[in-house]
């Protein structure tokens, strides 16, 4: 057995987008007998290396980047092995990008076939579900409360408190809805979980459903993620066959099923009330709150709504990793955060780390600077509704609190880097244009104000010194903030304010 040589070729959207599938085809054509096994693993999330191909031989696993590489000239598998050695292969766990992270939630990505349930179980998978079934509903919720976990979707609400509210409703039918409508530009942590460790999400959902007393769960997945859809469908099937979903889960009286629902290209459906409307088969118009979804949610029933990463964190909280997670950080910024470093950056990818690292560490140590080698100019944090920071704000710590102070938000953890070729007035205009396109249309300031916003910014692009337009833009932003039902309208001014404040004279001349 140990003589078998294993070749790992990732099957993941980003890896495939730069040729992993093609390399898989080329290499499988060369494999003629059973001495070589090809494993389609997930991605390690070190995206500048993709497609990162690894060979495991006599217990040693090393890999090399096959970006822009054509293997058609290779005639035999030995040719491939020789070619591989010439690329100076290395152990990915030894590079700083991976070594310096604290991967608790993302500990399995890249390691093995994401649908290998034996591997999942060998690495503590489903131990936490057993624990939950043993300790009962309230104790499970208490442990999640005491862990300090807050929602990783963007709003950072304490997860345990939300669960308690759903659990406390004396109603027989309750639902769980997993928000997998990861629409923020510059984010991919949910996708990476769904494609490279889907069982962690399914186990997390199962524990959460058990804790609050839900017997049906929905995953609302955006349509832009077709590979995640395939992985989730397969993982749900495997979990069913192994009695981790379905009736009498693990010989208890707990029943739980998961239905996958696909979105249809609407950003606002990532807002929880619009998502519920969409699952119910209607236009994704936001609902006013109260009632909170935890009290009256999907189909009028109490509903626990959490984002993918939040749910995938739950298994780690009920195992020995609990104390490791909760001992990290302070205040609201407890545990690890999966940051997604991207845009114009040399070494982009998934960085799971404590919150309180500086932007400088993130961009210089992890990212190794801009991909274009031009000077850094702006960094947008937290998606389209997040603020832009300038290159002299690199000492900013990436905690929930410090972003709050800057009138921004850590959001879903996206960090987008721009070099000095960026036109910040265009970025400000885009914030309004995006609101025009994606507003659900319910609140007038968001629906119409965003159109006016584009016009005002276009005028400012002609004349930065126009006092009249500067005041008008300020008024409009204030109106959007105070009169929109949801974050779409309410937070669209955030990037614009940050450009006015941190990039003087780039949009408005003072």
């Amino acid at each position: 057995m140990s003589n078998i040589i294993k070749i790992y070729i990732p099957n993941e959207t980003s890896a495939n987008s730069v040729g992993a599938n093609m390399i898989y085809k080329n290499i499988s054509n060369l494999v003629k007998d059973e001495s070589v096994e090809i494993i389609r693993n997930g991605s390690w999330g070190a995206y500048w290396l993709e497609p990162f191909i690894e060979i495991e031989k006599e217990g040693v696993r090393r890999g090399a980047s096959y970006r822009n590489t054509n293997l058609l000239h290779l005639k035999t598998i030995e040719d491939f092995f020789l070619d591989f050695e010439k690329k100076n292969p290395f152990d990915i766990n030894e590079i700083d990008f991976i070594k310096n992270q604290n991967r608790i939630v993302f500990s399995r990505i890249g390691q093995q076939d994401p649908l290998d349930i034996d591997y999942y179980r060998k690495t503590k998978g489903y131990e936490s579900l057993s624990t939950a079934l043993e300790i009962g509903h309230q104790e499970t919720i208490d442990r999640i409360k005491s862990s300090g976990l807050t929602g990783r979707g963007g709003a950072a609400f304490p997860t345990g408190i939300k669960m308690q509210t759903v659990f406390d409703q004396d109603v027989s039918t309750k639902y769980l809805a997993c928000n997998a409508d990861e629409g923020d530009g510059g984010t991919f942590s949910d996708r990476l979980i769904m494609e490279s460790d889907p069982f962690s999400l399914i186990e997390g959902m199962t524990i959460a459903a058990y804790a609050v007393g839900a017997s049906k769960g929905y995953i609302y997945l955006r349509s832009e993620y077709p590979l995640a859809k395939d992985f989730l469908n397969d993982a749900i099937d495997i979990a069913l066959k192994n009695n981790y979903l379905g009736k009498n889960i693990q010989n208890t009286d707990f029943n739980f099923e998961i239905e996958l629902r696909i979105g249809a290209g609407s950003y606002v459906c990532g807002e929880e009330t619009a998502m519920m409307e969409s699952i119910e088969g209607r236009r994704g118009l936001v609902r006013s709150k109260p009632p909170l979804p935890a009290i009256k949610g999907l189909f009028g029933k109490p509903t626990l709504i959490n984002n993918v990463v939040t749910l995938a964190t739950i298994p780690a909280l009920l195992s020995q990793q609990h104390s490791e997670f909760s001992n990290i950080g302070s205040g609201k910024s407890i545990g690890t955060m999966p940051f997604q470093l991207c845009g114009n950056i040399k070494n982009g990818g998934l960085i799971e780390t404590r919150f309180d690292i500086t932007l400088k560490e993130m961009i210089e140590n992890y990212g190794s600077g801009t991909k274009s080698n031009r000077p850094l100019h702006a960094i947008q944090i937290g998606g389209p509704l997040g603020i832009y920071l300038s290159s002299n704000m690199l000492n900013t710590s990436l905690t929930i609190e410090s972003l709050d102070k800057l009138k921004g938000s850590i959001g879903h953890g996206g960090i987008i880097v721009f070099d000095d070729s960026v036109d910040m007035s265009e970025q400000a205009k885009f914030a309004m244009e995006f609101c025009v396109k994606e507003s659900c249309g319910k609140c007038t300031p968001c629906r119409i104000g965003s159109v006016r916003g584009v016009e005002i910014i276009e005028r400012l692009q002609e004349n930065k010194a126009s006092k009249e337009d500067a005041i008008l833009l300020e008024d409009l932003c204030e109106t959007l903030e105070s009169t929109s039902l949801c974050a779409m309208g309410g937070m669209t001014p955030n990037p614009i304010h940050s450009i006015i404040n941190y990039f003087p004279n780039e949009l408005i001349e003072k």
């Binding site: 530009g185 510059g186 984010t187 832009e224 249809a264 088969g281 236009r283």
Partner: protein, 156 residues
């Protein structure tokens, strides 16, 4: 996989499994579009009858979502990502180049080549942009050449 244009099923056969499902309209719309390539007037009429909605209510839902369409479009759909991470990687220039190369503007279909050009906001491929999705395949570090090659090789 390009959007299928298979006409062998009657709409009602495809709709039926979703009628009793809670919130079954969205999956029904997806299924119809997968099979026919778009949601036709006939489909709308049959959906309205099956779900006990007015046709206006069905159209109301269809028109909210970017993915659903009521007219046939190209066999190959190119979606170019115009979200922030791709903006930092010059997606606007890529859009300009690909538009002139294919002689298409956004939301336009060339019925001779069977190509439709659309915009999309984030494909989750943000660390290796600019990104483009051709049917269900995402292309990272996209260039006009890569896109054309892909269509010629796999799309045709």
């Amino acid at each position: 996989m390009s959007s299928g244009q298979n006409n062998t099923f009657e709409p009602i056969t495809l709709i039926e499994p979703f009628v009793e499902k809670k919130g079954g309209l969205m999956p029904a719309l997806h299924t119809l579009q997968e099979h026919f390539g778009y949601i036709s007037k006939e489909c709308i009429a049959q959906l309205a009858t099956a779900f006990n909605y007015s046709q206006a209510e069905i159209i109301d839902v269809i028109t909210f979502y970017d993915d659903f369409r009521t007219k046939p479009i190209g066999k190959n759909i190119i979606r170019i990502c115009l979200a922030e991470a791709c903006q930092s990687q010059n997606c606007k220039k890529l859009l300009k180049d690909i538009s002139s190369q294919l002689n298409l503007t956004l939301d336009e279909t060339n019925h001779d080549s069977g190509i439709t050009l659309k915009e999309v906001f984030c494909l989750g491929n943000c660390a290796i942009g600019p990104s483009v999705m051709i049917n269900e395949t995402v292309i990272g570090e996209a260039t006009t050449e890569k896109i054309i090659n892909h269509i010629e090789k796999d799309g045709g």
